[in-house]
């Protein structure tokens, strides 16, 4: 996730904060379900961490919306505040989902099954050294366009990359966390294993 740049135009500034909030809330939902699916505390605490970021962005956005945007258009301010509340609710829901993991009880198998059997699934795949994915930047791979799979996290040894950007590369041995339809996952899995040499 990129830094929100200082822009003088308040409309542009709120737009940038808003988009960052929206993308973060979507990432949180993906991570929340992953934390349950893999009973993973690290992912669950990242959801908590991101929630803090959403809160910060939210107060910043509300402040600008009220102090600067409202002079230009009260309607735009109302819309922004409503969207802000909405995204906060989604972030809270994600928190609440991942909180299940933070208790010391293994999540009920039904939870895992329901995530697995959804038509938008969440999967993790290891990238082998002989795969064409290894060493390539996400921006060049265009995974979402080619396979329908959205890559939202990478585990590299002990390190995590949450919400990777176009400039981030996949390395051999990475575990990639992806969301999307099952047929897309199968396609990507063969490529990650090195069995298939093209994403087309």
């Amino acid at each position: 996730m990129g830094e929100v740049q200082e822009v003088t135009d308040p409309m542009k500034q709120v737009m940038e904060i808003f988009l960052e909030m929206k993308d973060t809330s979507e990432l949180m939902v993906d991570l929340a379900y992953s934390s349950l699916l893999y009973n993973n505390l690290e992912i669950a605490s990242e959801v908590e961490h991101l929630n803090g970021q959403v809160d910060e962005m939210s107060s910043k956005l509300q402040r600008i919306a009220i102090s600067d945007v409202s002079q230009r258009s009260p309607d735009a301010t109302i819309m922004l505040l409503k969207l802000c509340t909405y995204i906060n609710s989604i972030a809270d829901a994600a928190m609440s989902i991942s909180n299940v993991v933070l208790r010391d009880i293994e999540p009920h198998p039904i939870i895992k099954q329901s995530i697995k059997e959804s038509d938008v699934g969440i999967y993790r795949i290891e990238v082998r050294g002989k795969s064409i994915l290894a060493g390539k930047k996400l921006g060049d791979l265009r995974l979402a366009t080619e396979t329908g799979m959205w890559l939202f996290a990478i585990k590299r040894n002990v390190r995590w990359i949450y919400g990777p950007e176009e400039g981030d590369a996949i390395e051999k041995g990475d575990i990639i966390f992806i969301r999307g339809p099952e047929d897309g996952m199968k396609k990507l899995r063969s490529v990650a294993k090195g069995k298939v040499r093209t994403l087309q």
Binding site: T85, A93, S96, R103, H108, S114, G148, G184
Partner: protein, 209 residues
């Protein structure tokens, strides 16, 4: 969906479908309802907003089913502890429904959001586009699953506008028709590909999959 109104929550009838099935449906609905909420504002569509209400009602029903199913399932303390987690997930997805419905009130409050909505909602990692299918496109009369639109273009169809009618139940066997407007969510590259197919500029071909 929505065959009875939600006015009195206590009147929701218990439907004997399993907890797992209910949870799967809730997860799907909570994702769909977010996409539809943004779409309703982005395309200024009261019809889509109405669909958000319908889905919210369904989420309520499902949560009710899950509550009952879980109460019947707990035999001891350990059971109850594990089952509480299911309830927590279900409640969270239902809250997304509530929040969506609340957001849709913007349509009733006379807020002039139209000029600003595209400015705030047209971007993001994943975007939502309205794509018209031209008569010369070869995706016409073919099933969404047969085409594999999502895995081929990364674009997920969340609704279809067909003439004056809106279709929200996008089952895999649904066929695309000429002059359909597809409401699709995806990354820009993939959406552009879908536009090219929909315009008929690029042929999907027979054996793509």
């Amino acid at each position: 969906m929505g065959w009875f109104k939600k006015k009195r929550p206590e009147k929701i009838e218990y439907e004997n479908i399993g907890v797992k099935e209910s949870l799967i449906e809730m997860k799907g609905l909570s994702e769909q309802i977010i996409d539809l909420s943004y779409s309703a504002i982005l395309f200024d569509s009261a019809d889509i907003a109405g669909q958000v209400d319908e889905l919210e009602e369904r989420l309520d029903e499902l949560l009710y089913n899950i509550r009952i199913g879980l109460m019947l399932a707990a035999r001891n303390r350990e059971d109850a502890e594990q089952l509480t987690g299911i309830l927590q997930v279900a409640t969270a997805t239902e809250r997304i429904g509530d929040a969506s419905q609340e957001l849709m009130q913007i349509f009733e409050e006379g807020v002039e959001f139209r000029p600003f909505a595209p400015f705030f909602l047209k971007d993001g990692d994943e975007k939502i586009w309205a794509i018209r299918v031209a008569e010369e496109s070869d995706i016409i009369n073919r099933q969404i699953s047969e085409l594999g639109i999502e895995s081929e273009t990364g674009s997920r169809i969340i609704a279809i506008k067909r003439g004056p009618k809106w279709l929200y139940d996008i089952e895999p066997d649904k066929r695309i028709k000429g002059s359909d407007v597809l409401i699709a969510r995806g990354v820009e590259d993939g959406l552009k590909e879908l536009v090219a197919y929909a315009k008929g500029e690029v042929k999907w071909g027979k054996y793509k999959r």
